[in-house]
């Protein structure tokens, strides 16, 4: 496999994950919950699929985006439920 193409995919995955995680709002490990850890493992596996071209970049983007949105939505629900108690 062409190393330059692998490098391009690595850069794309890294920048994409960096922007997504920043947009998601959690920047420090000490803010992380066990569910955040599980999410980071899943995202790492998805990045691996992109690096070896096992999936199209569009599939990676949709997968990461949807997972993060579900995660953030659940976080929001949890914090609202805590404030109602």
């Amino acid at each position: 496999m062409d190393p330059l193409r692998i490098l391009t995919r690595v850069l794309f995955a890294y920048v994409m994950l960096l922007i997504m995680m920043r947009a998601g709002g959690k920047r420090l490990v000490r803010h992380a919950s066990p569910l955040d850890f599980a999410l980071s493992v899943i995202l790492g596996d998805m990045a691996d699929d992109l690096l070896w071209a096992e999936v199209d970049a569009s599939v990676f983007v949709v997968g990461v985006g949807v997972l993060l949105m579900i995660h953030i939505a659940l976080d929001l629900l949890r914090s609202r439920a805590a404030s109602w108690r």
Binding site: D2, R5, T8, R9, F12, M16, I19, M20, A23, G24, G25, W52, A53, E54, V55, D56, A57, S58, V61, V62, V64, G65, V66, L68, M69, I72, A73, L76
Partner: protein, 130 residues
């Protein structure tokens, strides 16, 4: 709520970037899975008898092709034994069409070369014949 909207916006922006690269830039190998990777995935799924998942790589998902996939992979396993390794080899890309090969290393018959023809649909490579 702001974070949710931000992630949605970043997802849409990244999808637009990929679309520009694939449609306008005619990218066939970098941000899309290249033909040899598609073929390798397809044969790995056949080797694991995951026919329903393998069908996702096909351009035409008719009952006839489903039958052909199952009989071909069953015959291959019966003749050559277990599939040990699969390697997609880069072939020729001519516009929206490509030909490529997969070298299948088997328990009894050694290396078997399978040839595939692919077509590009909505930016992704799909197998038309093998």
């Amino acid at each position: 709520m702001k974070a949710l909207l931000l992630v949605a916006a970043v997802t849409a922006g990244a999808l637009a970037l990929v679309a520009v690269s694939v449609v306008a830039g005619r990218d066939t190998r970098t941000l899309v899975s290249p033909p040899e990777a598609v073929v390798e995935q397809f044969v790995r799924k056949l080797a694991a008898a995951r026919y329903d998942v393998a069908r996702a790589h096909l351009a035409d998902d008719s009952p006839a092709i489903r039958e052909r996939i199952q009989t071909t992979s069953d015959a291959l396993r019966a003749r050559a034994g277990a599939i040990i390794q699969v390697e997609g080899r880069p072939g020729v890309i001519d516009g929206d069409r490509a030909t490529t090969t997969a070298v299948v290393t088997t328990e009894r018959a050694g290396e078997i070369t399978m040839e595939f023809r692919l077509i590009r649909r909505a930016g992704s490579w799909r197998i038309t014949d093998f």
